[in-house]
Amino acid sequence: MATVIQDLPAVAELTRKDFVPPTEVRWCPGCGDYAILNSLQRTFPELGVARENFVVISGIGCSSRFPFYMNTYGFHTIHGRAPSVATGVKVANPELSVWIITGDGDGLSIGGNHLLHLLRRNLDATVLLFNNRIYGLTKGQYSPTSPVGTRTKTSPNGSLENPLNPVLFALGAEATFVARTVDNNPKHMVETFKAAHAHKGISFVEIFQNCVIFNDSTWESIYGKESRDDQMLFLETGKPLLFGKDKSKGIRLNGLTPEVVDVATAAPGEILIHQPEQASPLYSHLLATLAEPDFPTPMGVIRKIEKPTYEALVHAQNAAAKAKHGAGTWQELLHGDATWTVA
C-alpha cells in the first residue's frame, strides 16, 4: 500500500504494471470486475497523464473496492456519495484526472441524487457504472436495475419495481458524454474508456458486468456467444446502425418508432446513421430505449456534446473576481466597508 515506486518513468513510458499496486485483489473468482480492472490498468498508461494526477474515487459495493486495486491516488468513500467527493477534488485541482467508480445500487439507488447532479453540472470527470443488476456485497438483493420479477432473498415472490435504464437516466440529466460497454470485451472497454477520458466534461459509461455468484449470466441473453450478434449494436460515428451476423440488419425509423429492417430490402438512405454529436438529444434517447428482445442493445458512444465544464466555470468566476477586485487583502477582509475608530 505504502510502496513508493522510485524513479518513476516519464508519462509516455508508463505501462500497465505502474498501475498495479501490491495489493491482493479480493473479488470472487470469475467476477466481471477483474476484466474491467485489467482494461482500466491498460487504459491509464495510454492517456498521457502523469500517474500522480489520477484520482480514483468510489462509494460502497463490490465495484467500489476498485481504488485499492489501482496504484494511483484513491479514495474509497461512503455509499453513493463518491460524486460529491469527486466534485470537491476536481474543483480543488482541475489538473487531476478524476475517475468515479460506482455500481447500480451505489450510483442509482442510494446515490441517485448525487449522480443526477454530477451529470447535470458537467464536471470534467468519468463515471464508470458497473451494472450487474444485483446487490452483490450484501449477498444478493434486487437492485434498481433488476428486471421486474427478479427473485432474491428480499423479493422471494419476485421484485415489483420497474428497473431504471442507466443510459436513459444519464441522458435525462443531460450528461454530455454517455456510453455503454461490456465486461467481456476488453478491446471495446479500452476504446470506450479512452473516448470517455478524451471528452471534456462529464463522461458516463455503463458497463454490463457479470456477478458470478448472485446474478450469474444476467447479460448472457445480450452478450453471450449465442446472442451477441443479434442482440448488440456496436455504434460507430458516421456509420449506419447495423447489426447481426454479416451486418445484415439495420435500424430505421417509421415515424418516431424505430424498426429493425433487413439491409437487403431497405430503401437507400433509410437506415439511421450514428450521429452522437447532434445537439438535439432525441436521437440519443431513441438509441437508449432500444432493448432486448425486440432490439439489439447499443454499445459504444451514445451521446457526445460540448458544454463548458463546471470546474472551468467556477475557476473563471474566481479569476474574474480577482481581476475585478484584485487579490483580497487583510485590510479588506478584517475592516470591510465601514469601520469607526474609538480614540
Binding site: M1, A50, N71, T77, V91, N93, N318, G328, L333
Partner: protein, 614 residues
C-alpha cells in the same frame, strides 16, 4: 438607571424593540438604529426575531417580525431582557410583544393599522387602544403613522403603495428623536443604497424619516427624551458584525494564515445560509463556494477539497447535521482536516427554524456510529464567531481532523461592534503536506500531536489509497482485531491530546467560592451580565464560558472542585450538565430553557440567588 431631570433623562442603557408585519421593514429600521448607535459609540447587542415564513398573511400573529437593540454607555453583552420601548406597527405586533414591555415603558403604535380586520386577526375582541388601562401601564403614543407618512409625501409622484412602504422610516425617525440619535448616518445610508437607482424613493424615505424626527421635536409627544452617553469602549478600530459574517471571515482568515485556499460547500438552511452567501462574495480571497445538491453532498465536496489540499468547510443547522453524520465519520477515520459549522436552531426535526437553541451538543459529541470522537468548540457572541471559526480551522489542520463549531441562531443573526484584530496577532497555522523526497506512510503520526501528514493528489511518488474501512498505519485495509484496537485508540488519543494545548479558562470572579456558573456558547452574555451585576452589588459568584467542549479544558476539574455549587444554564435539557457530572462526578445544578429564545439576565440572576441562599 436614570436621573430625574425633567424632560431629558440620562440612561445607562436602553432596549428598543421594533415590531410589525414581515412586510413592514422592521429588520431594516432595526439595523439602521443599530448602525447609528454604534457610531455614538454605544456598546450594543441586537436580536432580530422573525418568522420562518417569508410572507405569512399580512396582519397575522404568524407574520410578526421584530428587531431588538440594546445600547448602553457601559458594556452590553445581551440584547436585553425586556424592552424599554416598543414600536408596534399593527395589532398582531402588539399582541405578540406587549407582554415583554417594561412597566411604564414607551409604547408607540400605528393606530391606523388598528382596523377591525387586523384586530380580529390579532385575536383582539375590542381595540386595545380604547382601553384606558393601556395608557396607565405604559407611556402610550398612539399615532396615525400611516397617515402621517402619506401626508408628508402628498406632493410626490409616488404611488400609494410606494408611499405606504416608507412608513417604517417614520417610526425610526421618531425613535431617533426620543433617544437623541443623529439622523444623518441613516440619510447617508439611504442615499448610498437607493439614490442612484431610485432617487424618488430615496428622497421619499428621507422625507418620512425627517417627518418622524420632527414630529417628536415639535409636539414633544412623549414628554421625555432620553440620552445614552458614549460607552467607555476600548480604543481601536471597530466594525459591526453578525455571527454568520464573523464565522465566514474567520474561515477565510484561517485559510489565508494557513496558505490553503478555502473551499466551502453548503446547502441552503436556516439559519446557516448567510455563511454560504457571505463567502460567495469573497472569491478574490481564493475562496471557492459550491452550492451542493443536498447536505450530504455539501460535506462530501468539502471532504474532497480537503483531500486535494484545500481547507474544506461546510455549515448547516441541526437537520443538516443529521444528514452529514456518515461523512463526518469518514473524515474522522481518514483523518482529513474539515470544519463543520452547526448554527443550532430549535429542534427536533424542522422544529423552530428561525429560533435559537443549544440542543445539539450531544449530537456534536456523540451523533455518529462507532468510536468517533472529534474536537467540538463553541462561539460565545456574534463577533466571537470569528475567533471560534479561526480556532476550529486551526485545530482541523494542526491535528488533521474534522472539527465541529457550534454557534446558534441567536449568535448568527445578532450583531455587535467588533474590535477589528490586527492580522499579526492571528496565530500561525501553516502545516506542510508530505515531503516528496521521503517514503510516504499515510497514517504515520507526528509524535507531539499524533496528527498524520497528508499527501495530496498531484504529488509524485506518494500515490496511496484511503477510505472508510479500518486500515493499518500504512493505510492498507486491515480487519485485524489488534489493529482496530490500536487505531481506534490512536484516533481518540489524538483528539484527547488537544487538551494539552488549550489556554487556561477565563473566569469572572474568584477561583473558589460558593457558586460557579458554567456556560457554553451563546449564553455567555446573559450569564456574564448576571454575574457582573451581582458582583457589583457585592455578591460573591463566579462564572466561566467553555470554548472547548471536546476535549474539555484540563483546568476545569480543579475549578469546579473549588465551589460548593455549580450552576449550568443551557438552552436544552441539561446536556453540558450531564457531561460535567459524568466527567467530574459533581452534583451540578441544571438550568434549562426550551422556548426558542435566549436566557434573560434576570432569569439567571434569580437562579444564582436561589443557589446562594440554599
Amino acid at each position: 438607571m436614570s436621573d430625574s431631570t425633567p424632560g431629558f433623562r440620562e440612561m445607562k442603557s436602553v432596549v428598543v424593540r421594533f415590531a410589525g408585519d414581515s412586510g413592514d421593514g422592521m429588520q431594516i429600521v432595526g439595523e439602521r438604529f443599530t448602525d447609528t448607535s454604534v457610531t455614538v459609540p454605544n456598546s450594543i447587542a441586537t436580536f432580530p426575531d422573525f418568522p420562518a415564513e417569508i410572507r405569512a398573511p399580512v396582519g397575522t400573529i404568524g407574520g410578526v417580525s421584530a428587531f431588538q437593540v440594546h445600547f448602553g454607555s457601559s458594556q452590553v453583552l445581551t440584547p436585553g431582557d425586556e424592552p424599554d420601548a416598543l414600536v408596534a406597527m399593527n395589532p398582531a405586533a402588539l399582541a405578540v410583544h406587549l407582554p415583554d414591555l417594561a412597566k411604564g415603558g414607551l409604547l408607540v403604535v400605528n393606530s391606523a393599522a388598528f382596523t377591525a380586520d387586523n384586530l380580529k386577526m390579532a385575536g383582539f375582541a375590542s381595540n386595545p387602544l380604547d382601553d384606558p388601562g393601556l395608557g396607565d401601564k405604559y407611556t402610550l403614543v398612539a399615532l396615525d403613522i400611516t397617515g402621517l407618512a402619506l401626508e408628508s409625501l402628498k406632493d410626490t409622484a409616488l404611488t400609494n403603495r410606494e408611499k405606504l412602504r416608507c412608513k417604517n422610516f417614520f417610526a425610526l425617525g421618531l425613535m431617533y428623536w426620543v433617544y437623541t440619535r443623529p439622523i444623518e448616518p441613516t440619510i447617508e445610508y439611504i442615499n448610498s443604497k437607493w439614490a442612484k437607482k431610485t432617487p424618488e424613493l430615496a428622497a421619499a424615505n428621507i422625507r418620512v424619516l425627517k417627518a418622524g424626527y420632527y414630529l417628536g421635536e415639535t409636539s414633544e409627544l412623549t414628554r421625555n427624551r432620553y440620552s445614552v452617553a458614549r460607552a467607555d469602549v476600548a480604543p481601536g478600530i471597530y466594525r459591526k458584525i453578525s455571527g454568520n459574517e464573523a464565522t465566514a471571515l474567520g474561515l477565510i482568515a484561517a485559510s489565508q494564515r494557513a496558505g490553503r485556499d478555502l473551499l466551502f460547500s453548503g446547502y441552503p438552511i436556516t439559519p446557516a445560509t448567510s455563511i454560504l452567501e457571505t463567502l460567495a462574495a469573497y472569491k478574490h480571497f481564493g475562496v471557492t463556494t459550491v452550492q451542493a445538491e443536498d447536505e450530504i453532498a455539501a460535506i462530501g465536496v468539502a471532504i474532497g477539497a480537503s483531500y486535494a489540499g484545500k481547507l474544506g468547510a461546510t455549515a448547516t443547522s441541526g437537520p443538516g447535521m443529521c444528514l452529514k453524520g456518515e461523512f463526518i465519520g469518514l473524515a474522522i477515520t481518514t483523518e482529513l482536516p474539515l470544519v463543520i459549522v452547526n448554527v443550532q436552531r430549535g429542534g427536533p426535526s424542522t422544529g423552530l427554524p428561525t429560533k435559537t437553541e443549544q440542543s445539539d451538543l450531544f449530537q456534536a459529541l456523540y451523533g455518529r456510529h462507532g468510536e468517533s470522537p472529534l474536537p467540538v468548540i463553541a462561539a460565545n457572541s456574534p463577533s466571537d464567531c470569528f475567533a471560534a471559526a479561526f480556532e476550529a480551522a486551526r485545530i482541523a489542520m494542526a491535528y488533521s481532523t474534522p472539527v465541529i463549531l457550534l454557534t446558534d441562531g441567536y449568535l448568527a443573526n445578532g450583531s455587535e461592534p467588533w474590535q477589528v484584530p490586527d492580522e499579526a496577532t492571528l496565530p500561525d497555522i501553516s502545516r506542510p503536506f508530505a515531503d516528496e523526497s521521503q517514503p510516504y506512510v499515510a497514517f504515520a503520526r507526528d509524535p507531539q500531536t499524533l496528527a498524520r501528514t497528508q499527501a495530496i493528489p498531484g504529488q509524485p511518488g506518494l500515490e496511496h489509497r484511503i477510505g472508510g474501512i479500518e486500515k493499518n498505519e500504512k493505510g492498507a485495509i486491515s480487519y485485524d482485531p489488534e489493529n482496530h484496537s490500536v487505531m481506534t485508540g490512536l484516533r481518540a488519543a489524538k483528539v484527547a491530546g488537544i487538551a494539552r494545548s488549550l489556554p487556561p479558562l477565563e473566569v469572572t470572579g474568584e477561583l473558589t467560592g460558593k457558586v460557579l456558573v458554567v456556560g457554553w456558547g451563546g449564553t455567555h452574555g446573559a450569564i456574564t451580565s448576571a454575574v457582573a451585576a451581582l458582583r457589583s452589588e457585592g455578591v460573591a459568584v463566579s462564572c466561566t464560558n467553555l470554548r472547548y467542549l471536546n476535549p474539555l479544558p484540563p483546568d476545569l476539574a480543579a475549578l469546579i472542585a473549588g465551589f460548593d455549587h455549580i450552576l449550568v444554564p443551557e438552552l436544552n435539557y441539561g446536556q453540558l450538565n450531564m457531561i460535567l457530572r459524568a466527567n467530574y462526578l459533581v452534583e451540578a445544578a441544571s438550568m434549562t430553557k426550551i422556548m426558542g429564545r435566549p436566557f434573560k439576565v434576570s432569569e439567571i440572576r434569580a437562579r444564582i440567588l436561589e443557589l446562594l441562599n440554599d
